[in-house]
Amino acid sequence: MIAEAGLAALWLAAGLAAFQFLLMGLALRSQVDVARPMRAVAMVQGMLTLVAFVMLLLVFARSDMSVALVYANSSSAKPFIYKVAGAWGNHEGSMLMWVTILAVAGAFVALFSRRTSERTLVAGLGSQALLALGFYAFLLVASNPFARLFPAPPDGQGLNPLLQDPGLAFHPPTLYFGYVGLSVAFSFAVGALLTGEVDSRLARAMRPWVLGAWILLTLGITAGSYWAYYELGWGGYWFWDPVENASLMPWLAATALLHSINVLAARGALKAWTMMLAVIAFSMSMVGTFLVRSGILTSVHAFAIDPERGTFLLALLAIYVGAAFTLFAVRAATLKEGAPFELISRESGLVINNLLLSVILGIVFLGTLYPLFVEALSGEKLSVGAPYFNAVAGPLALILAALVGIGPLLSWRRERRPVFRQLTIPALLGVSALAITIILSPDIGILPRLGFTVAAFLAAAGILPLVGRNPLRAPLATWGMAIAHFGISVALAGMAANAAFTSERLAIAKPGDTLKVGPWLVQLQDVTPTAGKNWTAIEAELRASRGEGPVALKPQTRYFSEPPTETNEAAIQTFWNGQLYTVIGKADPSGGWQLRLWWKPFVTLIWAGGALIALGGALALIGRLWRFRRRHEAAREWRKERYA
């Protein structure tokens, strides 16, 4: 019964979404005020979808094998948390989660948004409903998550063991919240293009959503990168895999949007560009979802290939993005540009930021889809990997990171003060870092060396907006910006250290053998079998030392029976100055074992930086919402006094 209730809720929600879209048409054709019913319908639609998703969680939690999806992706022997997480560890469930977030976001807009005009809000909610409608149709026609099996099988087929990890419980939902949070920016942009009200009020209404989505994308990408690092056992934090790029592209677009929206909010400028970015950011989310869900690109995240689903998603993408671009082409000319600005001003700084981010986005987009287009045109097969992306996007990212230190110091409209003088100390730090790396390690590559230089410069320049003022008086948004920009320098330092100083050792070792990696001596003491709830494993006992007390590491190769799969469980030991990363591979005919050891100095800074960037975003979001609330309350007080 639970599954049927979920399906019914989904059908009802689809009906309401269609109704919402019709309401928008009515409101735009005539002057009928539909704001109140529109808000109500959007909220009910969001609730119904949430009900459907909770029903799916329930059938997974109860291991109801009569539901086809549970049978295919769960087994009763699995730990409880992975049973629940299994609900979104598959195609249908994750698409339901996608549309749930979309509809609930629409409900929240309906509930809270008071900043734009009612007409723009109605148009935005109508656009959000149309987005949701397409995905309801997709679920109901091509990917029903509640389909039954008769007779019910006794037990399920299990979940991919790589996904049986706490990371799974949080990584995909975080990314999805980010992807889909951008839908609100898209809908607002479409709504504003329809009504022609592209102004700073719109920017202020969009900003918290863009910021929120961006924070979650940042967290999702950071967590996903760490997950790949420790779970795949390859010792890398970023592989330029198509699915990774699919999450990076919306992030790049959202980062650009986050900055340009501030220009629109503060100065009323960059109207057309900001609307374009809002459309592109969510389009990139849809492209990402399509690439992941259709399985057309070869990837470590290889999901099933299903032409019918792929065609459906591609059609949705073409319709939505095509409609938004067409609307843009028709309406962009009617937008009046806002206040002018001079060459050296915060506006130009943000324009340069946007240009660089857009070019990097273009590079990643091209590299991700290039193999496909080459094969389409010439039949030749090739793959585009890290050498292309690092060589092309790397230098641009470095330039961007260096400019991040300068932009926030400029004032709006025109800069007359000698701001560059403030940069003396950061510049000296950068130059010293460059000199130190040249003296201490003359052999490292040019990109890591410049990475250290820019990181040192940015670490100091990033916090300059807080210097020279009472830090407690500075707005939270300024704190957030400074912390996020500082986070970039931290992550950059981590990447440079990883690229420049990682030592790797791959060897066959017998128990008793000692291997050297970086400053460490690692001894293989023993290899023993061990077992967990739904796996058996070979476990190596390693003892690592570098002068002081030895450390024990126990990497494993795990064998899961349902479905039969083998995974590497790396053993990682974190120190203040780096990580020791160990993997045990297969047995060698000579009686030894393959061991892979890495010493990665300061690699943890990469994820610490990512977390700092997200933290900065969170502070800015809290600051903005708090300020808005206070102003809202002040206005209410004022009205009360006035009319009392």
Partner: protein, 175 residues
């Protein structure tokens, strides 16, 4: 903003959708053609893997007659299944050399006496360097090399008896 500029996103989108739709209709073929085919064998000189047979040098592969080079190992289970196919090829006139990967003389000798020995020469590639240089990523793999030392075909995985006519025909063509 001019009209042309504003239409660019739509045009790009149309191209993107056409490209993606093409890929959906024509799913990618997972077999990747070898990059080594039509290239000369890289220079190498391997010591004998068993005392009774000569080792293998790249110069041996350019003696005017097409040959088969089989990459195998005594510890490789699929290689056992492949052995009868190679023996049959030898019986039908193919000239076969081999590279034993990460192996010991005793183990190779035991393997050959147990599963048959179709090889004229067996080189010992103890650290896989030659295997990697040839563009081979596992065992067993089989290369067909023409009389001038140029790689003409690469078979990844064990040969089966269904491959025998094809291999003989390709050797014929490589004359």
């Amino acid at each position: 903003m001019s009209r042309g500029l504003r239409l660019i996103p739509i045009i790009l989108l149309v191209w993107l959708v056409i490209g993606l739709a093409w890929r959906l209709i024509k799913p990618t073929d997972p077999a990747i053609p070898s990059q080594m085919v039509e290239l000369p064998v890289p220079a190498f000189a391997l010591p004998p893997a068993v005392p009774t047979k000569p080792g293998l040098r790249s110069a041996d592969l350019a003696d005017g007659k097409p040959r088969v080079v089989n990459i195998f190992a005594s510890w490789c289970v699929p290689c056992v299944g492949e052995a009868p196919v190679l023996n049959e090829l030898k019986r039908r006139g193919a000239r076969i050399d081999a590279i034993a990967v990460r192996d010991t003389p005793d183990a190779v000798a035991a393997f050959l006496s147990r599963h048959g020995d179709p090889y004229e020469r067996v080189g010992a590639d103890t650290n896989s360097q030659v295997q990697i240089a040839l563009g081979s990523s596992g065992v067993p793999e089989t290369f067909l090399i023409d009389g001038h030392g140029v790689i003409r075909h690469q078979y990844i995985g064990p040969l089966s008896s269904a491959n025998i006519p094809g291999v003989l025909e390709q050797l014929e063509q490589a004359q």
